[in-house]
């Protein structure tokens, strides 16, 4: 939302119409009750708000009271979506807007477009084309206008935008590998051009990670981890890329690599790293070696090596502030919870795949039953039921895919990321350890010097003095390093949390959008099932009018 950060929710201006209690509207079976969504004056205002935020801020319009008093609702306001209203409202908006000069013609057009779409829907319903419950219509509309807003918003420019596409199998047999196209689009001058692409293979990504982690983690940077190696997955792909499990594997990997790169380039320090630039730009990258260590198990080992070193520390660190300890504990807890959640989501994916299979099998069985049935009407009903269930199978399949690719993968990514966060905390501890060790070495050198002084060996004394100076410098250096790494870790963690919130939000939205879509289609199928049962069952006295009554479709 392009709104200013200190914008207050604009007050809903006072209503002119008499208002009745909300409870009257909540009568489950009344036709008016169903239309509360559309007829609610407050909601009209809300829709206006959606489309013309700046407009509302500057120009109060005569609508109902504030949100904090939900018990009053107007009963008979003019319907927003009636044709006359539409025509009268739109010009009002545009004239007011022009007089304020605060918003563009685009928003006017948007609003007019929305109204036109609504009119179309409404007339469709009145003509009997749509037999959807009004609630669905409203959801659809609300969603539509929301989507328009989102698209406008999404025209943010990125400094660097990377994408990983077009996986291609190169070579044959056991030496085959998959090459991905890495495309970059940027406005920064440090790159050779604005858009370019290169071909990279999986081990190149791992090589990049290795280089980055060696350099950057010493500074306390959180280096995003790449996706894991998978011998099983790759072997299948080497054999053939056509079967569904290989396709899924390659797609999963491609998406994970894309997310990995996006995280790397959105990190301000990493973006400056020459290795990253080379990875994105250079035509021929030297083959990365030693990527064995970066298999899933290898990566975990690396993280754990650092924490083992920390655990073996005999001197316990005396924290000046508890921020680091608390944060570390938080990170550990969160990682545990995410693992648990990931396990459950995995189970959900499997169950949905099972449901998919079982539905398909059931549909076939129903079809056969329908064929056997000797009563014609019933036979047709059963066959139609079978067809609808078949379509449901497709839906379940898609839903399982989105469960997996969006939800489960998000969790897996963050479990790995939290591991990296833990890693950088451990780096800080190592830095502290180094400093302490240097201090104790310095102490020993001083003691040695004292001994030499007492033993009166002038030539060795000189050497000892030199060593002391050296170690004093080292101690200072290590102390500075420790402080610096502490600051970096703090900054990094805060940045990480912000990124995580943003990431979760956008992935959750994506997931919900896909669920919303499939829910809509499930509903359509439910309705067609209902139709099937009723009409093919040849029920006497069940007419389109009574059908309308069931759906509370308003007359006309």
């Amino acid at each position: 939302m392009a709104a200013s950060s200190d914008r207050n929710p604009p007050p809903f201006p006072a209503s002119e119409e008499p208002e009745t209690g909300l409870c009257d509207m909540a009568d489950g079976d009344s036709d008016e009750g169903e239309d509360i969504f559309v007829n609610n004056v407050r909601l009209r205002a809300f829709l206006l708000l959606l489309l013309c935020p700046s407009f509302v801020q500057s120009t109060p319009v005569a609508v109902s009271r504030g949100v904090s008093q939900p018990d009053q609702v107007s009963e008979e306001p003019p319907d927003l979506f009636s044709e006359e209203e539409a025509i009268s409202t739109a010009p009002t908006l545009s004239t007011t807007a022009k007089s304020n000069g605060v918003h563009s013609d685009d928003e006017n057009d948007l609003f007019a477009e929305l109204l036109a779409a609504v009119d179309c829907f409404h007339s469709g319903i009145s003509k009997g084309y749509f037999v959807l419950p009004p609630l669905e219509l409203k959801c659809g509309l609300l969603y539509y206008c929301f989507q328009q807003l989102e698209e406008e918003e999404a025209k943010d420019s990125f400094d660097v935008d990377v994408s990983v596409t077009s996986p291609e199998k190169i070579g044959d047999g056991m030496n085959a590998y998959v090459a991905y196209k890495v495309s970059t689009r940027t406005s920064l001058n440090m790159f050779r051009s604005k858009t370019f692409f290169v071909r990279r293979r999986f081990s190149d990504f791992l090589g990049l990670y290795e280089k980055l982690s060696v350099k950057q983690s010493l500074h306390g940077c959180i280096v995003p981890p790449p996706p894991e190696k998978s011998v099983v997955g790759m072997t299948k792909v080497k054999v053939g890329m056509d079967d569904p499990s290989s396709v899924e594997f390659v797609e999963r990997r491609r998406a994970a690599l894309e997310r990995y790169l996006q995280r790397v380039v959105s990190h301000p320090s990493l973006l400056q790293d020459p290795d990253v630039r080379e990875f994105l730009e250079r035509e021929d990258l030297p083959r990365a070696v030693n990527t064995q260590a970066l298999s899933g198990a290898g990566f975990l080992k690396m993280i754990n090596k650092a924490s083992d070193a920390v655990n073996k520390m005999t001197i316990k660190m005396n924290e000046s502030d508890t921020w680091f300890e608390d944060k570390f504990q938080e990170v550990e807890n969160e990682e545990q919870q995410l693992r648990k959640l990931h396990a459950v989501v995995d189970s959900l994916v499997n169950h949905r795949k099972e449901l998919c299979m079982n539905t398909a099998v059931f549909a076939k069985s129903m079809a056969m039953l329908g064929n056997s049935e000797d009563n014609t009407a019933l036979s047709r009903a059963l066959s139609q039921l079978a067809e609808v269930e078949d379509k449901m199978e497709q839906l379940h399949q898609e839903q399982a895919a989105s469960d997996f690719f969006i939800f489960a993968e998000l969790l897996a990514d963050y479990i790995r990321m939290l591991g990296a966060v833990r890693g950088c905390f451990d780096q800080r501890m190592r830095a502290w350890q180094r400093w302490q060790e240097a201090q104790s070495t310095l102490q020993k050198k001083r003691e040695a010097e004292a001994k030499l002084l007492w033993a009166n060996k002038p030539d060795k004394l000189q050497q000892a003095k030199e060593e002391i100076t050296e170690w004093e410098a080292r101690v200072t250096q290590y102390e500075r390093d420790f402080d610096r790494i502490g600051m970096t870790v703090r900054k990094e963690v805060l940045r990480f949390e912000k990124e995580k919130a943003k990431d979760f939000k956008s992935q959750i939205i994506k997931y919900l959008e896909s669920m919303l879509q499939s829910e809509q289609r499930v509903m359509i199928h439910s309705h067609s099932k209902a139709y099937v049962y009723v009409f093919y069952s040849g029920v006497e006295g069940f007419s389109p009018e009574s059908w309308q009554r069931v759906y509370y479709i308003p007359d006309g």
């Binding site: 939302m1 929710p9 909300l22 009750g33 809300f46 708000l49 959606l50 949100v67 939900p70 419950p133 609630l135 669905e136 409203k138 959801c139 609300l142 807003l149 938080e330 807890n333 919870q337 995410l338 959640l341 459950v344 989501v345 189970s347 169950h351 949905r352 099972e354 449901l355 079982n358 539905t359 059931f362 069985s365 056969m368 039953l369 056997s372 000797d374 009563n375 009407a377 009903a381 039921l385 949390e497 919130a501 979760f504 939000k505 959750i508 939205i509 919900l512 669920m515 919303l516 829910e519 809509q520 509903m523 439910s526 099932k529 209902a530 139709y531 049962y533 069952s537 029920v539 069931v550």
Partner: protein, 406 residues
């Protein structure tokens, strides 16, 4: 007019959440109360109740099947044994996993389990009641002496049951074993009607058996998904409560959403189970009962043909002709009687089946519509959530109010 209804009395109360509900270990722990209302003079009182157990129903069914006079009738299928295996196993697993769950998650799963247990209970009652209602509405069967005893005798029936077992023992089972062979062995069918019925029923039975099994699997998958939603909701909740960043409210709302979703999924699963799967299951058993009728008739036909052969042999040997003739006459009579009543029964069975399918499918339609409404409201929830995450907080307030009204 005879009307039998069924009430049940559970042994243990599951009101308080703190107790672990004690699931019946054996079927005899489920006690039914059979309540009868009648205007027939053959009963002592116009209204009365007796306690019965599942085994009593089975005894009644078996005695009816063994009665020669009813060979030409479709005997309503016996109600299946109350099966609490599913919920019991789940309860066990839940108990084992209690340590790994939060209190909230545990409570929710237990509630879900109790609901499942209740559903099984309801189903069991329904199926036993339908059995009695079929009997009481059948013009011949409702006059059966044993049926009357079942309804009226206010003492324990277990003594009678034991006697019956000793009498009939494995006879019934033996008959069922050879039944398929009798039917399929191609005893020459003289009547087109029965030939068609045989083909139809054999085919339909195998199809409906298959559909029942597949429907069960599908319903179970739905239930599994609903259970997963509970766990996801609970984990998201604990994640959000520990979270101190901007993520917190996103996770909270996701948790809310999954909670709503699981209710819908659970209901969809149980409605599907009750209407579709139960329907298929019941008619599978009913068709088996119809097949049993065909078997009995086929046996009678075989007996008749054998008696014919015996008569011919006797005539050839000129020995025992009168007995052979009489035997042949008896077999013919029996066969004719079976054919006549069988035809009537099978025709009415057809009509009954179509009506029942139609009724259940329409009820399913109404449930689908109801669920569609709930789904609509959840969609609205989704949208509001999405909008809310874009900082339209005041929009959230409105939409929440509207959601609550739906």
């Amino acid at each position: 007019m005879l009307k039998a209804t069924l009430k049940t009395k559970r042994l243990h109360s599951t009101q308080s959440v703190s107790d672990t509900p004690h699931l019946p270990q054996l079927s005899r722990e489920v006690k039914f109360t059979v309540h009868t209302k009648t205007t027939l003079s053959s009963f002592q009182k116009p209204e009365f109740s007796v306690p019965r157990q599942h085994e009593d129903f089975i005894w009644l069914h078996d005695t009816l099947v063994e009665t020669e006079d009813y060979a030409g009738l479709i005997i309503p299928p016996a109600p299946p044994k109350p099966d609490f295996e599913g919920p019991r196993e789940k309860m066990h697993k839940l108990g084992e996993g209690e340590a790994t769950m939060t209190k909230e998650e545990y409570t929710k799963m237990k509630q879900e389990l109790e609901a499942e247990y209740l559903a099984v209970f309801k189903k069991t009652v329904q199926v036993h009641e339908i059995f009695l209602q079929r009997l009481s509405s059948h013009p011949i069967l409702n006059k059966d002496r044993n049926f009357q005893i079942f309804l009226e005798y206010d003492q324990d029936l277990s003594v009678r049951r034991k006697n019956a077992k000793e009498m009939f023992g494995g006879f019934f089972k033996n008959m069922v074993k050879s039944a398929d062979e009798v039917l399929i062995s191609g005893v020459k069918e003289v009547d087109d009607f029965f030939e068609q019925e045989k083909t139809f029923l054999l085919d339909y039975y195998s199809k409906i058996k298959d559909s029942t099994a597949k429907a069960e699997k599908m319903t179970r998958s739905h239930k599994n998904i609903a259970d997963d939603y509970i766990r996801i909701s609970a984990t998201l909740n604990s994640l959000s409560s520990d979270d101190s960043t901007a993520n917190k409210k996103h996770l909270e709302k996701m948790s809310d959403l999954f909670e709503k979703l699981r209710k819908v999924e659970g209901r969809v699963a149980s409605d599907q189970e009750l209407k579709l799967t139960e329907l298929l299951r019941y008619y599978m058993r009913d068709i088996q009962a119809a097949k049993d009728l065909l078997y009995r008739r086929a046996r009678a036909l075989a007996d008749y043909e054998n008696s014919n052969k015996a008569l011919d042999k006797a005539r050839l040997k000129s020995k025992d002709i009168p007995q052979a003739e009489e035997h042949q006459q008896q077999c013919l009579q029996k066969f004719d009687k079976l054919s006549e009543s069988g035809k009537k029964e099978l025709t009415s069975f057809k009509g009954r089946r179509v009506v029942a399918f139609r009724k259940n499918l329409i009820e399913m339609a109404e449930l689908e519509i109801k669920h569609a409404k709930v789904r609509s409201s959840i969609q609205l929830y989704y949208i509001c959530f999405i909008m809310c995450t874009n900082e339209l907080q005041y929009a959230w307030g409105i939409c929440k109010i509207l959601c609550e009204q739906i």
